[in-house]
């Protein structure tokens, strides 16, 4: 599988404050990649960096060979008008203009690019399972789940090749959540769209993502095939996440309590970002661990050892 999106050693910083450090990630054509991380881990910033909404201070982001990091002004605008990469915001209430109708919103990308709208609005709405009759309403007059889908319809009306979805389901209940995720999976099969989904809900990601990447403190700590990473985590943080996921069955292979640190861990400005919370941290963790491995990668000095301590 060739990489459609290549993120190579990307740093993002606002003034002196660094949000992402040396993130490298490749997304293959037709793949669904899940990105997991807590608030402040940089997962939203990573997606925003791809579409040019976050200041990339080092590294390269390439889409199908085009270097996106170098685009400025006119070139950036022309690139955006192609609509090949679409970013789907997290909060539909904030990302939809309250004064516009659903039809205007969904057609916006096409109108901006000067492309014919035709029946694309109806098509996009039906793709996300919305009644085309909603087209004349404003966002304030539809339900939360419907707004989420309008957001998605606006993106797919551009017939993108890559869709970046920021927490598309965090505000929805379980049934609606699965509905939206299924839509993303269907888009991939039907239209060959490559999808990056940012989510904190491991269980739903597990249903659709081919691979997952785990971010912690602005660094990539683990990535690999979804089922492998979640059933056999190699990074203590991934293990904590899987052990913390609520489940209707109460048994967890490793109790979350054994993956939490009691007392403070070694804190070091330029060490492993997780050391402070990691129960397995040692003096070795004062240095940043390298992400090692190819299809299955982990950044932990004790990747091979910690599991034995909790088993």
């Amino acid at each position: 599988m060739s990489a459609l999106l290549s993120i190579e050693g990307v740093d993002v910083a606002y003034r002196r404050h660094r949000i992402l450090s040396g993130v490298s990630l490749h997304v293959g054509t037709g793949e669904i990649l899940g990105i997991i991380g807590e608030t402040g881990s940089g997962k939203t910033t990573l997606a925003r960096a791809v579409v040019g909404l976050a200041p990339v201070t080092a590294g390269r982001i390439r889409f199908d060979g085009t270097d996106l990091t170098g685009l400025r002004g006119r070139a950036l605008r022309d690139w955006r008008r192609t609509g090949q990469v679409q970013y789907v915001f997290q909060d539909p209430l904030r990302a939809l203009d309250p004064q516009h109708t659903v039809a205007t919103i969904v057609a916006e990308g096409l109108t901006v690019a000067g492309r014919p709208v035709g029946d694309r609005v109806e098509w996009a709405l039906s793709q996300v399972g919305l009644d085309p009759a909603l087209a004349t309403r404003t966002p304030g007059r539809i339900s939360g789940g419907q707004r989420q889908r309008v957001l998605l319809a606006r993106a797919i009306a551009m017939r993108p090749r890559l869709l970046l979805c920021d927490e598309p389901v965090s505000a929805l209940d379980a049934s609606n959540r699965n509905h939206v995720l299924r839509l993303l999976a269907d888009l991939r099969t039907a239209a060959g769209v490559t999808v990056v989904v940012i989510s904190h809900d491991l269980s739903s990601l597990a249903g659709i993502a081919d691979r997952v990447a785990v971010l912690y403190g602005g660094r990539l700590v683990e990535h690999g095939p979804t089922e492998e990473v979640l059933t056999d985590p190699r990074h203590p943080y991934t293990a904590l996440l899987t052990a913390s996921a609520p489940s209707v069955r109460r048994e967890h292979p490793i109790p979350a309590a054994r993956l939490r640190r009691v007392g403070d861990g070694p804190v070091s400005e330029d060490g492993c970002s997780y050391a402070d919370r990691c129960p397995f941290a040692t003096s070795a963790c004062a240095a940043v661990p390298e992400l090692t491995g190819d299809t299955r990668a982990v950044a932990c000095h004790h990747a091979g050892e910690w599991l034995a301590a909790v088993r």
């Binding site: 605008r77 955006r80 915001f89 904030r94 939809l96 916006e108 901006v112």
Partner: protein, 266 residues
């Protein structure tokens, strides 16, 4: 309240457009025999010291007064809203310069500035109103900027940028419609202020040559004869106050309705 306000403004608008035709007497016709008379069927508001019909003078003076107020607000809008929107995107230097210019203008007192301008550009209502308008500009500048600033950081504006939308397009489709109500409300309030300013200036005799009737002019001439007709200034003063109050009431109503709508949308 809203209906009363609109009613008042409609009457004022009709007087402004057709005042000369409605006036029962020639507002300039002097009749020394009838000087300083009280209300009568022929002269409902009485006559002034030259025997001119006060009712006709007020009705005929509406046009000049209202036009002057609208002129000044128009000038204020032009000089305020355009830079206000421009300052959102034109970078820090332009923003800084515009903000300082607005501060400087705001420190100038209305009347004194208008007197100075008419002193330089010649005594005429238009000149005076240009001066007043220039002083309104900072108000519109700040209001537009404040409303727009919030919007340029809105996520739907970001979304439009991601589609490759130009700034003018974003201004037109996402910003303008939301700034407009605020600007309209401010304009209504400013018109009230402008009416007062016009009246004050014409009261002082600035902007109009003496015989031409205006609200402020009538008030001024009535005040000269308080001893004979103590009630007389009440009529032009009430006219000015009621019109200004109607504009303010309408503005307040629109603002509070907008707040309620915004609350419901949440």
């Amino acid at each position: 309240m809203r209906r009363t306000a609109i009613g008042v403004l409609v009457v004022v608008a009709v007087l402004a457009v057709a005042g000369g035709a409605i006036a029962p007497h020639d507002p300039l016709l002097q009749n020394p025999d009838l000087a300083l008379r009280g209300p009568s069927p022929a002269h409902p508001f009485g006559t002034d010291y030259l025997g001119r019909d006060v009712f006709s003078r007020l009705v005929a003076g509406t046009g000049a007064t209202v036009l002057a107020a609208i002129q000044s607000v128009g000038v204020g809008l032009l000089l305020g809203v355009v830079p206000g929107l421009a300052s959102l995107w034109l970078g820090r230097t332009v923003e800084w310069l515009l903000l300082r210019a607005a501060d400087a203008l705001m420190t100038l007192p209305f009347i004194v500035f208008a007197v100075a301008v008419t002193g330089i550009l010649g005594n005429g209502l238009t000149q005076a109103m240009l001066a007043i308008g220039a002083l309104f500009a900072p108000l519109f500048f700040r209001v537009t900027r404040a409303a727009g600033l919030r919007l340029t950081r809105a996520q739907y504006v970001e979304a439009a940028e991601l589609f490759g939308a130009s700034r003018t397009r974003i201004l037109r489709t996402h910003v303008w419609g939301k700034v407009l109500p605020t600007v309209a409300v401010t304009a209504a309030q400013a018109t009230g202020g402008a009416l007062l300013a016009v009246s004050s200036l014409t009261f002082l005799g600035i902007g109009v040559k003496p015989p031409a009737p205006t609200w402020g002019g009538v008030l001024a001439s009535d005040l000269g004869f308080l001893a004979q007709q103590p009630w007389a200034p009440v009529i032009p003063a009430a006219l000015i106050m009621v019109t200004v109050a109607a504009l303010n009431a309408l503005a307040d109503h629109t603002t509070s309705k907008e707040r309620v709508d915004a609350g419901l949308a949440r």
